[in-house]
C-alpha cells in the first residue's frame, strides 16, 4: 500500500476539517448555556436538549418521520423485490425501459416531484394526508432499495435454485427457502438505505406535508427560515447522533461505500 506524501496528507486533513466543521459546530452550539446562539467555551449546558420536551410539535414530527420512513421503506421493498427478480433474472423486451423507469426518481429533481405530487394529490383528494405522503416517499426511496436488491439478485449463484428445483421444490418454495435467504443481506441494506433517505427527505416533503403530517426535517426547515436559535441546534445534534450510530452499524455490517454506490456486496 503506497503511502501518501506530506502534501497529500495536509490536503486530506483540510478536507476532513471542511467535511466535519459544520456538523461539529452544530453539536457544539447545542450545548450552549445562553439563550441565544453562541459557542460554549466555559460552560456546557443541557438546557436546550431539555427544552425539546417543551416543543411537542418537534417530538410529533420526529415520530411522524419514523413512522413514515418505516412504512415507505417496507412498502418500497415489497414492490422492489419481485420487480428486481424480474429485471435481474429474465430477458424480455422492455427490460431496459422498465429498469430506467424504476430508477428514474433518482434523476427527477425533488422539487419537481414535490410539485407534481402536490398537484396530483390535490386533484384526487389526498392532499395533506398521510397516505399521500407515504406514496410520495415510496417513489423517492424505491430506486435506492431496488438497486441494492438487484445487485444482490444478480450476484447470486443461480445453480442453487436449479438444485432446489431438481429436488422437487415448487417456484414459491424455491423463492422462500433458497432465494430469499440468500438475497436477504441485500434486501435489508436496501431497506435501511430507503429508511434513511425517507427520514432525511425535505425538498419534496415540503410541498406534500400538511400541518397534521409534518415531518422532522420539514419542521426544522420551516423553523430555521424564520429564526435560527439554539433549539434547532440541539434537535439537529440529536438527529446527527442517531444517524451516526446507524452509520457505524451499517458500515460494520455492509460497507458504507458499497451501500451508497448501489453496487451491493461484491
Amino acid at each position: 500500500m503506497r503511502r501518501n506524501g506530506a502534501l497529500a496528507l495536509a490536503f486530506h486533513t483540510a478536507f476532513v476539517i471542511f467535511m466535519l466543521a459544520p456538523i461539529a459546530i452544530v453539536c457544539w452550539v447545542a450545548f450552549t448555556p445562553t439563550g441565544f446562539l453562541s459557542i460554549p467555551v466555559d460552560e456546557f449546558s443541557l438546557r436546550w436538549f431539555k427544552a425539546i420536551g417543551r416543543y411537542p410539535e418537534f417530538i410529533d414530527a420526529f415520530w411522524n418521520s419514523v413512522g413514515l420512513a418505516l412504512t415507505s421503506s417496507v412498502l418500497a421493498l415489497a414492490f422492489s423485490v419481485p420487480a428486481a427478480l424480474a429485471l435481474a433474472r429474465y430477458q424480455f423486451r422492455g427490460r431496459e425501459a422498465l429498469t430506467a423507469l424504476f430508477l428514474s426518481p433518482l434523476m427527477i429533481p425533488h422539487v419537481v416531484l414535490g410539485i407534481a405530487f402536490l398537484r396530483f394529490f390535490t386533484q384526487i383528494g389526498l392532499s395533506g394526508s398521510f397516505t399521500g405522503l407515504v406514496v410520495s416517499h415510496i417513489i423517492v426511496v424505491l430506486p435506492f432499495a431496488m438497486r441494492l436488491v438487484m445487485a444482490a439478485t444478480a450476484g447470486m449463484d443461480r445453480s442453487v435454485e436449479h438444485a432446489a428445483i431438481s429436488l422437487g421444490a415448487s417456484d414459491w418454495t424455491v423463492f422462500r427457502r433458497v432465494t430469499l435467504p440468500l438475497i436477504l443481506p441485500g434486501v435489508l441494506s436496501g431497506g435501511v438505505l430507503a429508511f434513511i433517505q425517507s427520514f432525511d427527505e425535505v425538498t419534496m416533503t415540503v410541498f406534500v406535508a400538511a400541518p397534521g403530517t409534518m415531518t422532522l426535517p420539514v419542521r426544522m426547515f420551516l423553523y430555521i427560515q424564520d429564526n435560527i436559535d439554539p433549539l434547532v441546534t440541539s434537535i439537529s445534534a440529536c438527529v446527527i447522533a442517531i444517524t451516526a450510530v446507524f452509520l457505524w452499524a451499517i458500515d460494520r455490517l455492509y460497507g458504507l461505500d458499497r451501500l451508497l454506490s448501489g453496487h451491493g456486496r461484491d
Partner: protein, 356 residues
C-alpha cells in the same frame, strides 16, 4: 425396452445447432459418460434431460414414459452440478434433507435416510457443518449425497470433479464408481476428461460439434475408434500418410520406408495406390532391429514421466510419439537412429478421401 431412451434429441440456439439428432439407449444401472471437448453439446444434452433447457425437437423416454413434458421439479432426477450448488445457508444435513422434505417424507424416516446418505459418502462427522467451512472434496460429496438420498431414477453429474485437484480427482473417481455400484443408480456423467470417462463408465458417448461420434465400451472405443476425432480425443495417437501397394504375395500398406501386411480386419475394397490415413497408438510401438514391418527415424527427445518414458521420434512421415514402460529394459537415447515397429493389427487404416 431400455431404461432411458433419447430419440432425435436436438437443440438449436438460433443459427447454432448445439445438439444434433442425438440417439442413445441407456440400460438400468449403467454408468454412461458423455465425453467431448467444450462446446460439443454434452452439457446441453444433460440440461435438456434435467429440464433446464427446452429441447428444439426429439423425445426422451424414461421407463417408457415421456420425460420432456414433465416439469423439472417433478422429473425425480438427482443432479450434481459443476459448482455443487449447495445451499450455503443450510448445513450438510439440511442440504441432504431438502429433497426429502419436498417429497414430504416423515421426519423420522427423513433423518434416518439423511444419516445413511452421509455415511455412504463418508461425511457423517460433518452433518452440522456449513458449506463454506468444507473443502471442495467434502462439498462434492454432500452434493452427491443430496442427489442420491431422494432415490432418483437417474443420477446426472455435470463435470462434478473438474474443480478438484488432480490427486483428489483420482480418489473421487474411484469412490464415485464404488458408490454407484453399491446403490445401482443409472448414471449419466458429463466430462471433458477422457481418462475420467474411461475409468468410470460402462459405456462412453463421444461427442463432437453436437453429434455423436461413437457409443462403445471404453476399451472398444480406445482400440477401435470409429473416427479420427475419437482416435485423437481418446488417448494419444500418431497419424501418418500411407499407401496401398501390391506385392507378389498380397497387398501391403506402405508407410515411409516400411511396409506391413494388410490385417484381416481391414476392408478389401481399396485398389492399389489408394492413399491412407494410418493411426497407431504410441504404446503399441516398440524399438525393433530389423527392416521388416518397421519405420526408420531418429530420437529427438525422451522424457521420463514416472511409470513410462515418452519419446519424440522424427521419421520420414513426421514426428511420432512412442511410449515405453519403465520396466528397466534398455531404451534409445536422444540422437539415436532407431526403427519403430508395431503389429499390423494395431494399425487403424482409413481411406484418405473418406469424411473425417
Amino acid at each position: 425396452m431400455s431404461f432411458l431412451v433419447l430419440e432425435g434429441l436436438t437443440k438449436r440456439f438460433g443459427e447454432l445447432t448445439a445438439v444434433d439428432d442425438l440417439h442413445l439407449k441407456v440400460e438400468q444401472g449403467e454408468f454412461i459418460s458423455l465425453l467431448g471437448p467444450s462446446g460439443c453439446g454434452k452439457t446441453t444434452t444433460l440440461q435438456m434431460i434435467a429440464g433446464f433447457v427446452q429441447a428444439t425437437s426429439g423425445r426422451v423416454t424414461l421407463e417408457g414414459r415421456d420425460l420432456l413434458s414433465v416439469k423439472p421439479a417433478q422429473r425425480g432426477l438427482g443432479i450434481v452440478f459443476q459448482s455443487y450448488a449447495l445451499f450455503p445457508h443450510m448445513t450438510a444435513a439440511q442440504n441432504v434433507s431438502f429433497g426429502l422434505e419436498m417429497q414430504k417424507v416423515p421426519k423420522v424416516e427423513r433423518e434416518q435416510r439423511v444419516a445413511e446418505a452421509l455415511a455412504l459418502v463418508g461425511l457423517s462427522a460433518l452433518a452440522d457443518r456449513y458449506p463454506r467451512r468444507m473443502s471442495g472434496g467434502q462439498q462434492q460429496r454432500v452434493a452427491l449425497a443430496r442427489a442420491l438420498v431422494i432415490r432418483p431414477r437417474i443420477l446426472l453429474l455435470d463435470e462434478p470433479l473438474s474443480n478438484l485437484d488432480a490427486k483428489l480427482r483420482e480418489e473421487m473417481q474411484i469412490e464415485l464408481r464404488q458408490i454407484q455400484r453399491t446403490v445401482g443408480t443409472t448414471t449419466l456423467l458429463v466430462t471433458h476428461d477422457q481418462s475420467e470417462a474411461m475409468t468410470l463408465s460402462d459405456r462412453i458417448v463421444v461427442m463432437n460439434g453436437g453429434r455423436v461420434e461413437q457409443v462403445a465400451r471404453p476399451h472398444e472405443a480406445y482400440e477401435h475408434p470409429a473416427s479420427p476425432f475419437v482416435a485423437s480425443f481418446l488417448g494419444k495417437t500418431n497419424v501418418m500418410a500411407g499407401r496401398l501397394t501390391q506385392i507378389a504375395d498380397g497387398p501391403r500398406v506402405a508407410v515411409g520406408d516400411g511396409h506391413w501386411p494388410l490385417a484381416q480386419t481391414s476392408p478389401n475394397r481399396w485398389s492399389e495406390g489408394q492413399s491412407l490415413h494410418v493411426t497407431v497408438r504410441p504404446e503399441k510401438i516398440s524399438f525393433v532391429s530389423g527392416p521388416v514391418c518397421s519405420l526408420g527415424g531418429e530420437v529427438r527427445s525422451r522424457i521420463f514421466q514416472g511409470n513410462h518414458w515418452l519419446f519424440q521420434v522424427d521419421t520420414a512421415c513426421g514426428p511420432m510419439t512412442v511410449i515405453r514402460q519403465n520396466d528397466g529394459s534398455a531404451l534409445p537415447l536422444e540422437g539415436d537412429r532407431v526403427r519403430l515397429g508395431w503389429p499390423a493389427q494395431d494399425m487403424q487404416l482409413r481411406a484418405e478421401s473418406s469424411a473425417s
